[in-house]
Amino acid sequence: MATKLILRSNFRKAIGAAHEGLGDAVDKWVEEGVDQAKSIVTKRESQRGYALNTLYDSIDGDKDGELQAHFGPTVWYARFFEYGTYGGAGIEPMPFVRPAKRKADTAFKREAGTSVERAIRRRAGM
């Protein structure tokens, strides 16, 4: 006499869902990075009396692939503010990309925890 075991598995869907959830977290990383970089520039320019409107406006980010992204300024002279200069105008360093990345990384981790689970539940119809 035989007995039966029949499973209905949604695990295959879960793999795709994890991918989708991480993609949402990457979106969050870009959004947070751009916001933080702009926020730091705004704060620092007012402290120092700079007018960095063009630099500020050039800060943007985007996905380069499903799980790849970038953010940062596009104006060529941005590095002079990020790293500072000794010669020329003598610009005091005011890092804004690196601190923004740290905040974005934290936001990514926080988002990934919830977005992956959310996507799995959505796909699995839970």
Binding site: Y83, G88, G90, E92, P93
Partner: protein, 142 residues
């Protein structure tokens, strides 16, 4: 827990530490933790500044670990990288010896390099060389 500003203590401690090294000071005309603006004085120099800071761990309101990221680099005028490279190498040696040292009430738990940095820039019609790295400091207040 000692209540103090770990970033400020570390900044001063690092400046004193680097200035105490005869080998390094013989290679440079100055070691600066503050912005010195446009100067015509001698080169090369060492300049460092905080890139970012974070309290890595806090338990029941007590700070356990503070992370401070520094950009430390040799700056030289011209196109010859010899001096800048030698200085950044010495700085690297010194910073890796910092583990277990104290800056006042701050204990340096560890120092490691996060990323090397090297740039050639044309600033005000003069070529400048920047050679150094980003260093991560983990400090605590025992």
């Amino acid at each position: 827990m000692t209540l103090l500003n770990e970033a400020a203590e570390t900044d001063q401690g690092l400046e004193d530490y680097l200035k105490d090294d005869a080998s390094l000071t013989s290679m440079v005309t100055g070691i600066w933790s503050t912005f010195i603006g446009r100067k015509s004085e001698g080169m090369p120099i060492v300049r460092f500044f905080q890139v970012e800071t974070d309290d890595l761990m806090t338990i029941m309101g007590n700070r356990v670990w503070t992370e401070i990221v520094y950009q430390v680099e040799a700056i030289d005028r011209g196109t010859d990288t010899t001096a800048a490279r030698a200085i950044s190498q010495r700085v690297d040696q010194l910073l890796h010896l910092l583990r277990g040292e104290t800056f006042g009430h701050v204990l340096v738990e560890e120092v490691y390099r996060r990323a090397p940095l090297f740039r050639r820039e044309l600033e005000g019609d003069q070529p400048y060389i920047y050679a150094g790295a980003e260093y991560v400091f983990h400090v605590s207040t025992p």
